[in-house]
Amino acid sequence: MVRRLSSLLTFVVVSVVVLVLAVLLSFAAGIRASLKSSGHPENILVLKSGATAESTSILSPDEVNRMVQTPGVANSTTGELLISPELCVQTSIPRQGSGAMANVAIRGVEPMAFEVHPEVRIVAGRCFEPGVLEAVVGKAASERFSGLQVGSLVQLGRLNNQVFEVVGIFEAGGNAFESEIWTARTTLASSYDRRYISSVAMRIESPAAVPTSLDYINGPAVRLQAKTELNYYEELSSKTREIVLLSSVLIFIMGIGAVFAVANTMHAAVDSRRREIAMLRTLGFSRRSIGLAFWFESLIICLLACGCGLAGSMAFSGTKQDFLSDATWTVLAYQLQVTPDIALTAIILAVTVGTLGAVLPAWRASRVPILEALRKA
């Protein structure tokens, strides 16, 4: 009876630690998944030298023209170069539910953008028409922020006095674009009174040609900053490293606490079964098998607890969150994700805790003096 309660309490401790581990890491995994899928290996992104994000980059039309000569740029089916100049601005839109304002990115694009970013697909309504105050909204943005459904009107523009109609919703494979609003570049440029553009995305023919193209743009001919989209989004996700680091420290401390809780329970288990152990030894069970039995007992508790904790964390998985990137100053919507990697980490943690907690008790169990233990009973 006492051992049932004690095992149960230890079980709860370990499952809570696993739960915390999985939830903390799922934040980082969600953000990374959203950013990682944003980059295409054959796409390169050009920013002003020194800029760290599209939102702080300013390119003049002249600089864009210099890029047309870039070697290796792919052609569209109609023979046009797959170069997409894009303008990034932002607006404040209230979140659904809390109503707190969020900085949402608006991207002004030309029709070419849909070929350079083929993952962007309109899933409801239709695409915007250039020259008309119309916009399409990413799926994540339309779910997270209020008033962004097909047919709703949204006030944009530098003075917030231009009423755009949302005419469609797009998906982009769960990537960062889905947190944005897209409209025609010229329309956006006039609404926001911008003569410049922010960035240029281009599709290169093959991954092998990418380094040559990067060198060309970074070199004296263009003198701008080019990186692969993968690199750009990788850098944006550097924030997640901090979360992982912080989580690791917290989990490490909690893990040690769990080891002590397990050790406590296992010591008690050994104490209360000295007679039983002595009996088993008399019957011929080896020291090793006695020790192993206690180790397995601890592992079983911890692994069951791990399963329970992971199951609990699945309840959080898929929760929609968003965060303000400190590089772009726009919010990025993401979903908490309990990935196989996280599950594996959790299992490793549980096995480690179970093993470390059981080492001393199991050793003690294997050393129980037979005669004394039998006599005392």
Partner: protein
């Protein structure tokens, strides 16, 4: 009383291994509690300071990303011709910054030289520092944790690359490391110097990111919060005015909502501590079942037994809690850890208040963990308890 305490201690020492393990299993979650609450506390102290400073933040109505004309400064100041109600109007721009070849981002604000000292009195700059700030166009006041992190001292010359166009390097002279500032990481430099850098590359310079208004009283603050927006309502750039706390809170809640998430984490760790301590107490109770019954048979009252079980748990958890609370306190205030240049460590301030809170919570953990065994001890029926013994 002394005798009783001695008895409790003796009881704990009867199974030193178990007591030690429990101490650790309680102490470590308490440590996490202390660390996470220190972060939350830091944010709250920061916000509370924002409130007491009676400052308003004026941003462009549509988005903070849109700048305001620098001329708004004079127009706002003119709303109070007597200068009795508006003490200072300080234009500010975020320029971020980093140093060559180092990916670590900095947070730097360019501010109006003449308004800064009166708008931010909590910096408590010395007269020498004030003089240096007014005299030197390239003066920079570093956040103290930033200064420690990069090993910069007063008198150093440093070169930062701003995070905004034209990204031209800016040389600064460190004149202070702002020991009294509430925000330990932000750096402050002259807006005029930033304007100059922008003008050199042909970027528009007559703009500011936002304006901070230092008011004389709470009433003035409430008045101008509305009055400023009304005044600019028909300008091409309408404004949004809010108090500093609300302004700052927008950033904090958008970035992971750290205070809320860490509070949840703290609650979880306290729960873990209760489970761990409860485990030990139930084991102790079980071991001493017959002993307690014997004591009762000898005439010790229910209260004595109840308080004995409770007292033991309380003592154990307080011991664990004390270790868990004061190790980080020591580590973050007196140990060599202070010299590590990791921003997380540098920015964290573990205060006595949080440690005492943690101790109080440990006591609570002790009481809750022993609740069930203590009630059982209270209800203990001597006859059944003794009969069950073999």
């Amino acid at each position: 009383m002394r005798l009783k305490l001695l008895y409790l201690l003796r009881n704990l020492l009867r199974n030193p291994r178990r007591s030690l393990l429990t101490c650790a299993a309680v102490g470590l979650p308490v440590m996490i509690y202390v660390l996470s609450m220190s972060v939350v506390d830091g944010v709250e102290r920061f916000l509370d300071n924002s409130m007491t400073q009676l400052r308003l933040a004026v941003t462009q109505k549509t988005s903070i990303i849109n700048p305001l004309p620098a001329g708004y400064r004079k127009k706002i100041a003119a709303l109070d011709p007597s200068s009795q109600r508006i003490i200072a109007v300080c234009g500010m721009s975020w320029i971020g910054g980093r140093i060559e070849g180092d990916p670590r981002p900095l947070s730097t604000l360019a501010v109006d030289r003449d308004a800064f000292i009166s708008a931010f009195p909590e910096f408590q700059l010395s007269e020498d520092e004030q003089a240096a700030w007014m005299r030197d166009r390239r003066a920079i006041i570093l956040g103290r944790s930033t200064a420690r992190q990069f090993g910069w001292q007063v008198g150093d010359r440093i070169t930062l690359i701003p995070s905004l166009p034209p990204y031209s390097p800016m040389e600064f002279h460190v004149i202070s490391t702002a020991e009294k500032a509430t925000d330990p990481s932000t750096n402050w430099c002259h807006h005029a110097y930033w304007d100059e850098i922008k003008k050199q590359s042909g970027y528009p310079a007559e703009i500011v990111g936002f304006l901070f208004i230092k008011c004389a009283t709470r009433q003035d603050m409430d008045y101008y919060r509305v009055a400023i927006d009304d005044f600019f309502a028909n300008y091409s750039d309408a404004t949004k005015t809010q108090d500093e706390k609300a302004f700052m809170n927008e950033f904090i809640t958008q970035q992971f909502n750290l205070p809320r998430n860490l509070s949840i984490l703290s609650a979880v760790t306290v729960f873990v501590a209760i489970m761990a301590a409860g485990n030990t107490m139930s084991m102790n109770f079980r071991d001493r079942f017959s002993e307690l019954a014997t004591m009762k048979a000898l005439g010790f009252g229910r209260w004595t037994l109840f308080s004995q079980v409770q007292g033991e748990s309380l003592l154990l958890c307080l011991l664990g809690g004390a270790v868990g609370a004061f190790v980080p306190y020591w580590a973050f205030n007196y140990s060599p850890l202070r010299n590590f240049t990791v921003p997380l460590i540098q920015q964290l301030e573990v205060t006595m208040v949080v440690c005492l809170q943690a101790l109080l919570i440990s006591a609570g953990v002790g009481v809750i963990a022993a609740a069930w065994p203590a009630i059982q001890a209270w209800r203990l029926s001597v006859v059944t308890a003794l009969r069950n013994q073999e």
